[in-house]
Amino acid sequence: MKKSALTIVSLLLVMTMFLAACGGNKNNTNGGASNTPSSTPSESTEPSKAPDPVNLRVFSTFGGTDTAREAFQKALDEFTAANPHVKIENDTMSANDDGFRTKVNTDMTSGNEPDLLFYFIGTDASEIIKSGKVVPLDEVLDGDPEWKNGFAPAALEFAKHEDGKTYAIPLTGFFEGLLVNKKIFADNNIELPTDWEKMKAAVSGLKAKGIIPLSGPFDQSHYLLEHFILAAAGSESQNKGLKEAVDPNWAKGLDAMKELYDLGAFPEDAATIDLGMAANYYSEGLAAMVLEGSWAIGGLSDETKANTTVLPFPAIPGGAGTGKDVVGGFGTGFYVSKATYDDAAKKEATIALLKHLTSPATIKNIATANGGTPAAAGVEPEGMAQAVLDGFKMVSEATSVNSPIDSKVTPETFSELRANVQPVVTGKKTGAEAIDAAKKIEDAAK
């Protein structure tokens, strides 16, 4: 298939040139111009000797608005400065993008794999690992004890795949939680939402004062779903996903969302805003709470950042949550592609780059920039916002640290859950109906 498609495309190209040539030396240069090679990523994999130039492509999420973008570029620059024969193409895409997973999966399965890939750890990577496109790095780790011992053991443990091997080298971890603007709460004499009753009281109180209690979008409702379901279903049930029987506690999470909605918890335009706008409302001080990840803290306005603390989402009564269940972990890491690993010339440079990018110094810089948990042992990022430190504390006191729910179910099932958030909160569907619909999608995908 691939070959025939290639033939067709090259045939088209040849035809273009052929026709252009037919036009002879006249002013007909159309075909030639359109045929100029575009900036296709360098795919040249011809083996070269050590001092020969090596081109590496690194694909990561450190682009666009990512707070660690500069820190990451700096780390790459350091490496190329020390190794002038290596040229790095820094290819990026925002992980917030719905298409991100598709891009990575297709890149990997189509022989267009980057040398170094920064991608999710967990079920998201299963397909790539199963197809053998990335290599286990245990040997490399064991071969360099100094490098290996630089990591926090928990971080390496988390990065292990379900088959017990380590494919991804973690950089920084993350946590998600309830970001709370303490000042708004204090100014309005409202107690922090440390349990469900206080949460409801806070929502009512804030709403009465004309402040958005909890900023969150219904379409990109990733964080809402993650926290409400975890808070109702508890860690164990959340981690099971929807493969087996439906846990009635899941529905309680959705119903709790409705309960808060009825109290006026969400922004007036929650249905049509996206994650960025929801975080903006919080950042601008229009909203008192938002469910977000550690990476969002760096992007908050200075005033809001200074007033922010991070709390675990309170347990929903009648459910199995402890009120100290947290979403977080080392969700991403560096993968080395098999093609690169088998290429003697590239392997060396790639491993060297990998070690540089996961050295305690780089980890520290990145963690400082994005507020993540450093994967290196004994590294204390500098100038951390108090909110981030509060988040670290929240994680250390947590009864469980869980991967987000969208890594437990198929993308389509998660979409179904997302699509049902609004119908549930507005009362068009019950939580149980929504979960059943999602379960049906999950079953069909088997």
Partner: protein, 290 residues
């Protein structure tokens, strides 16, 4: 063309109507609608020179004290220059491919009599009914397998295929109005079919080529759906894609958003003012696409 000129002459004759109340109302309505266009453009450009807070609080005030911060941000932070370049390369390439291949096909379809010609036209009309939605998944798969996804060709090829129908129909329609005698004379002079095409057909059909080029360029330049799927990467991202991302990533930076819209719209506006004649002609000659 000739028809159009005739039409305009006749219009000229009818100009002798006296100015009346009806005319006054007509002008009021027409100016009101033009204002919706002109003022919207003025508003957006004007606000692109203000900081975000001023856009929110006093968007109607004229920016007598323009700030350039949005423009430096647009180029530094969202790399709008690169987006431009990508758009120009891909849309320009699409136009060239469409005109070249479409021109050749239109030449054959309009000047040759052969079996199956009618059938080919039917197929062409039928392909107008295939929206991009109906081809996107297999095209995406094909692009991935041929490693063309996220390269300039990855957008150019599908867009070329998508726009060829329109171009062929417009060009063939125009070419069929060119008198046969011209060609026959040239043929006797020893031109072969190819030189006939480049020396006779091409120069005469320039207006049709121009209008087809403009529309293909616009549709390609403005096509968010294909860009979203085929070239969604920083290195090759066209400007429409940047625009769609800005609203979510810089959702409250209204100044930056105004600047991004201005930067996309103003160059098009300037070019448009120079070529608007061709566009209207193109529409007259073959409006087949919505």
């Amino acid at each position: 063309m000739q028809q159009l000129a005739r039409g305009e002459q006749k219009v000229y004759k009818r100009k002798k109507i006296n100015f009346s109340v009806g005319q006054l109302i007509s002008y009021l309505v027409l100016f009101a609608w033009s204002l919706s266009t002109i003022y919207a453009m003025f508003w957006i450009v004007n606000n692109s020179f203000k900081v975000s807070r001023d856009v929110m609080n006093s968007s109607f005030k004229i920016a007598f004290d323009p700030v350039m911060v949005n423009y430096t941000n647009a180029f530094d932070r969202i790399n709008i220059g690169k987006g431009y370049l990508n758009s120009l390369i891909m849309s320009g390439g699409t136009v060239l491919l469409v005109l070249l291949f479409g021109g050749l096909a239109a030449y054959v379809l309009s000047r040759f009599n052969f079996r199956g010609r009618k059938a080919l036209f039917s197929i062409l009309y039928a392909s107008l009914l295939i929206p991009a939605f109906a081809t996107v998944v297999p095209v995406y798969e094909l692009l991935i397998k041929t490693q063309l996804v996220n390269t300039y060709f990855g957008l150019m090829f599908p867009q070329t295929a998508g726009n060829l129908t329109f171009a062929i129909l417009v060009l063939a329609g125009y070419m069929s109005t060119i008198p046969k005698e011209l060609e026959e004379a040239a043929f006797i002079d020893g031109c072969n079919r190819f030189t006939l095409f480049t020396k006779i057909l091409l120069p005469i059909s320039r207006p049709a080529f121009a209008s087809a080029a403009i529309f293909v360029f616009l549709w390609s330049y403005n096509d968010l759906f294909s860009a979203l799927i085929f070239v969604n990467k920083e290195a090759v991202r066209p400007i429409v894609l940047l625009l769609s991302e800005i609203s979510s990533q810089y959702g409250t930076d209204f100044g930056l958003m105004a600047t991004a819209v201005s930067l996309t719209v103003v160059p098009v506006l300037i070019v448009y003012l120079f070529i608007s004649k061709y566009i209207e002609k193109g529409l007259t000659e073959g409006a087949v696409k919505g």
